[in-house]
């Protein structure tokens, strides 16, 4: 059996097991599992409107995943992507409508995307310096900064960036003609293409360049990195900046492509959703595209199903959780089997 086939099998078996276990949960909730899965599949994948929604969802998830892959491969647990994403989104939403009149559509889009990435990167600066200089655990600091970032984003929407024309606190709106171009007369925007290109580039960066290899050495064994003479502090800060910058770009793209504005208390928490997917893909940029697509189908289908069939949206997270558990289990059993056949 080839290595690729074995890898695919190691992924498909846990998916089947997770769907099976999920069916039991559905039965306990009083829903018919087959009806539910069929509905989710139809709504998320097999109807044109559903498929468009699913594909549109890829953009922020893939950009955040790209950021997570950079960080995780370098052994840095940037768990603050949601704060970085949201702040970048808010700044984009404030900047876009203000700029578009002065400099036109495409310059605005480019400036906003860069500004979003810069804001995301800036929001990781403090954890980065604390980690590089004092070895402070970034799990704690990035999570804290994420809370602060989410709150700050709310403050910005309600005070300086508030659109005076609306009663609900939200930023001014970037009108649809000024947003990212749509593809083939659909609701899918060009940001999806950008996201796919970015994640492929990140994959190449990590696997095919000296910079990527240095980051991986730091991630796999920081002491070996010191021994090999790598500047661990500088690489750590670069990793944070790149990771958070990509999360910020994700925020900018989501606003420029889909929403055009940010309402107060809007927080999709894509980061939290992307983290398990990145683990499922074992930090592989190409594999993560498949997982994110699969997840987007569940997400779009599951949202409809929650309205139609009364199964809460949280059930999708239950499925992802089950998938992680079964993936680990299959991995473990496979490892044991190989150990035994070796002896």
């Amino acid at each position: 059996m080839s290595r690729v086939a074995a890898g695919v099998l190691r992924t498909l078996i846990p998916i089947a097991l997770a769907l099976g276990a999920g069916a039991l949960v559905l039965l306990a909730l009083g829903a018919d599992p087959i009806d539910y899965y069929a509905f989710v599949l139809r709504r998320g994948l097999l109807t044109w409107s559903g498929l468009q929604e699913t594909i549109t969802k890829l953009a922020p998830l893939l950009l955040i995943s790209a950021g997570l892959i950079v960080a995780f491969r370098a052994g840095i647990w940037n768990l603050g992507v949601d704060g970085q994403f949201l702040l970048a989104a808010v700044v984009t939403a404030a900047l876009g409508p203000a700029l578009v009149g002065a400099i036109g559509r495409y310059p605005t889009l480019i400036v906003c995307a860069l500004a979003g990435a810069a804001v995301g990167a800036a929001w990781s600066l403090l954890p980065a310096i604390l980690k590089a200089r004092y070895g402070l655990n970034e799990i704690i600091t990035t999570l804290m900064m994420s809370f602060l970032g989410t709150s700050l984003a709310n403050v910005l929407i309600k005070l300086p960036f508030k659109d005076p024309a609306t009663t609900v606190p939200q930023t001014e709106t970037l009108l649809v003609p000024d947003r990212l171009p749509r593809l083939f007369d659909s609701t899918i925007h060009a940001g999806v293409v950008l996201a796919v290109i970015v994640i492929l580039l990140v994959h190449l960066l990590m696997t095919r360049t000296a910079f990527g290899l240095r980051l991986q050495v730091v991630g796999a064994n920081p002491r070996a990195a010191v021994h090999a003479g790598l500047n661990v502090g500088r690489l750590t800060i670069a990793t944070f900046a790149l990771s958070a910058g990509l999360a910020g770009l994700g925020g900018a793209v989501e606003i420029l492509g889909v929403w055009g504005t940010v309402r107060a208390d809007w927080n999709p928490k894509f980061g939290l959703l992307a983290i398990p997917l990145v683990f499922l893909a074992r930090f592989n940029g190409i594999a993560v595209i498949g997982f994110v697509f699969f997840f987007a189908v569940l997400l779009i289908g599951g949202e409809s199903a929650s309205r139609r069939m009364g199964v809460p949206t949280f059930f999708i997270l239950v499925l992802v959780g089950l998938l992680l558990v079964f993936l680990a289990l299959v991995e473990y059993l496979d490892h044991r089997r190989r150990e035994r056949t070796k002896s």
């Binding site: 360049t209 990527g212 290899l213 050495v217 796999a220 070996a224 010191v226 021994h227 090999a228 003479g229």
Partner: protein
């Protein structure tokens, strides 16, 4: 010997995936006898101890305590049977006093019995003929004294069986002698002492009975009658014969084992030119638990091997790291070929021809999940020829690895195999292949044969000798005195961060080094 054994193994077998660590081993341990278990790494000594200490369960066979079959399911049960084990590394709490350490782990939820502990402490002090201050902080004691505390703890529940796992590896020659005294005293009091070592000289000096293990099997035993009828030479030859079947086919390994390698002659180094490496007044700042350097200085000439002796933890690590550029010195200067390099980083020093082969092969020398090929280029990521504009040329990196694998005879299924899957000896070859190249001028070896089997020990030592013959300047840090005497031109001794007396490697150097290691002649 009419005495009945206090502890016996009958056909003990223990398998691990891929290896039989212990293969049908039967042994008797008798009261009042020092029983040496001899064997190189991987011979199954550690597994055997694990079985006796209750940390591992045999797959087959049985253990008899005073003739009665027992099951030793946990370390607690092992202690309950009067079997005490002293492991290679000290397992005590440095910030507690001797007495507090001895009170740890006695029964649960009971009040600390200070008076009782002190009574037993004095009993054992007498039995061992050692004098320790029960109120001294353990961390303030020498390693030899800490080991004495470990022995007390092992004997706490009664003087039955004492297992010592390579107890001399951390000791000075003086400490080894004292340990010998303690073992003989315990023998006199009817303790069955099991002494594990891979050093032939110690086996002969201390042992009443020598059992030789090889590849998990018991391959032979020298009883007290035969042993006392032999001199050291004869006993050594006999043990080597047991270990290798016949001594002829393994001459090199036998020589390495017996410490009969060729000694390098002192005084053949041309020191008229400029020294290639000059260290002056090097000092470092230490974190807790480390030993800093204190005003270390030396000169090193091309083709010379400077041995650095000393008990582990006397600043050797800092010395190697400061020279390699991994750690910045707080003061002092290092000149390489006349150029000050104290402020430069690892990469710059490497490009100038300075190489460092670390003793922590897995800890920092390699990234275990990464391939052999990646590990071979880890210190020159981005170098032209293997990378173009920062893009990895994996074809060339793998080709480069295949060359090095061939040249250094690294036994690996492929250049893509994760380095962590290789044996210790082959991992060391990966490091040697990475560091030793045409551009090398100065090489720092830190404990280059630590944990290697005989064959690989010999290979590593040959590499060091060949390098020096080819004009490399070598700093050889080692805790094995035999190794330094075999390879070094001059030997300095590290003691508490200072480099004491660099002396020529001539006859009688052992005694002077032994004194310097304890700080007596500093």
């Amino acid at each position: 010997m009419g005495k009945a054994p206090v502890l016996s193994l009958r056909g003990v077998t223990k398998r691990f995936p891929g290896v039989i660590a212990n293969d049908n081993i039967s042994l008797d341990f008798r009261a009042g006898e020092i029983h040496v278990l001899l064997g190189e790494n991987g011979a199954g000594k550690s597994t055997l101890i694990g079985v006796l200490a209750g940390m591992q369960q045999p797959d087959a066979g049985e253990i008899l305590s005073h003739g009665r079959a027992v099951r030793i399911g946990s370390p607690r049960e092992s202690l309950g049977l009067g079997i005490g084990t002293v492991f290679q590394h000290v397992l005590l709490v440095p910030s507690l006093t001797v007495l507090e350490n001895l009170m740890l782990g006695r029964g649960r939820a009971s009040r600390l019995d200070r008076a009782g502990t002190l009574r037993r402490f004095h009993d054992l002090s007498q039995a061992l003929a050692v004098s320790l201050d029960p109120e001294a902080k353990l961390g303030a004691l020498s390693l030899g004294q800490q080991q004495q505390v470990e022995i007390m703890r092992a004997l706490w529940r009664g003087e039955g069986v004492l297992i010592l796992d390579e107890p001399t590896s951390m000791l000075t020659p003086q400490g080894v002698r004292e340990l010998g005294e303690v073992m003989r005293r315990l023998r006199g009091q009817g303790v069955a002492v099991i002494f594990i070592t891979h050093k032939l000289r110690e086996a002969y000096e201390f042992g009443d009975r020598i059992s030789v293990l090889r590849l998990g099997r018991l391959v032979g035993q020298l009883g007290p009658e035969r042993l006392s009828a032999m001199n050291q030479e004869q006993a050594t030859d006999e043990v080597i014969r047991l270990m290798f079947g016949s001594p002829s086919g393994h001459q090199g390994e036998a020589e390495t084992l017996a410490g009969r390698g060729i000694r390098r002659r002192a005084g053949i180094i041309d020191r008229s030119g400029e020294a290639i490496l000059r260290a002056r007044d090097l000092s470092t700042v230490a974190e807790t638990g480390e030993c800093p350097l204190r005003e270390v200085g030396f000169d090193l000439w091309p083709g010379e091997v400077l041995g650095i002796a000393g008990v582990d933890g006397n600043g050797q690590k800092h010395l190697a790291e400061v020279l390699a550029g991994q750690r910045m010195a707080a003061q002092g200067s290092i000149r390489l070929g006349g150029v000050e390099i104290g402020g430069t980083d690892v990469g710059a020093r490497r490009r100038m021809g300075l190489r460092y082969i670390t003793d922590e092969r897995l800890g920092e020398g390699t990234v275990q999940p990464f391939s052999v090929a990646t590990n071979l280029v880890m210190k020159e990521i981005g170098v032209a020829g293997l990378w173009r504009h920062g893009v990895s040329l994996w074809g060339r990196i793998h080709g480069h690895a295949r060359e090095r694998i061939r040249e250094f005879d690294i036994r690996t299924p492929s250049e893509r195999t994760p380095v962590g899957r290789l044996s210790g000896g082959n991992i060391q070859k990966v490091l040697l292949a990475r560091e030793l190249g045409s551009a090398a001028r100065v090489v720092i070896f830190n404990k280059p044969t630590y944990g290697l089997d005989l064959q690989n020990t010999k290979l590593a030592r040959d590499r060091i000798r060949e390098g020096a013959d080819a004009g490399l300047a070598t700093v050889l840090i080692s805790t094995e005195l035999d190794e330094l005497i075999e390879l070094a031109d001059r030997i300095g001794v590290m003691f508490q961060g200072r480099l004491a007396g660099i002396i020529d490697n001539r006859e009688g150097v052992e005694q002077r080094i032994g004194l310097l290691m304890t700080g007596a002649a500093a």
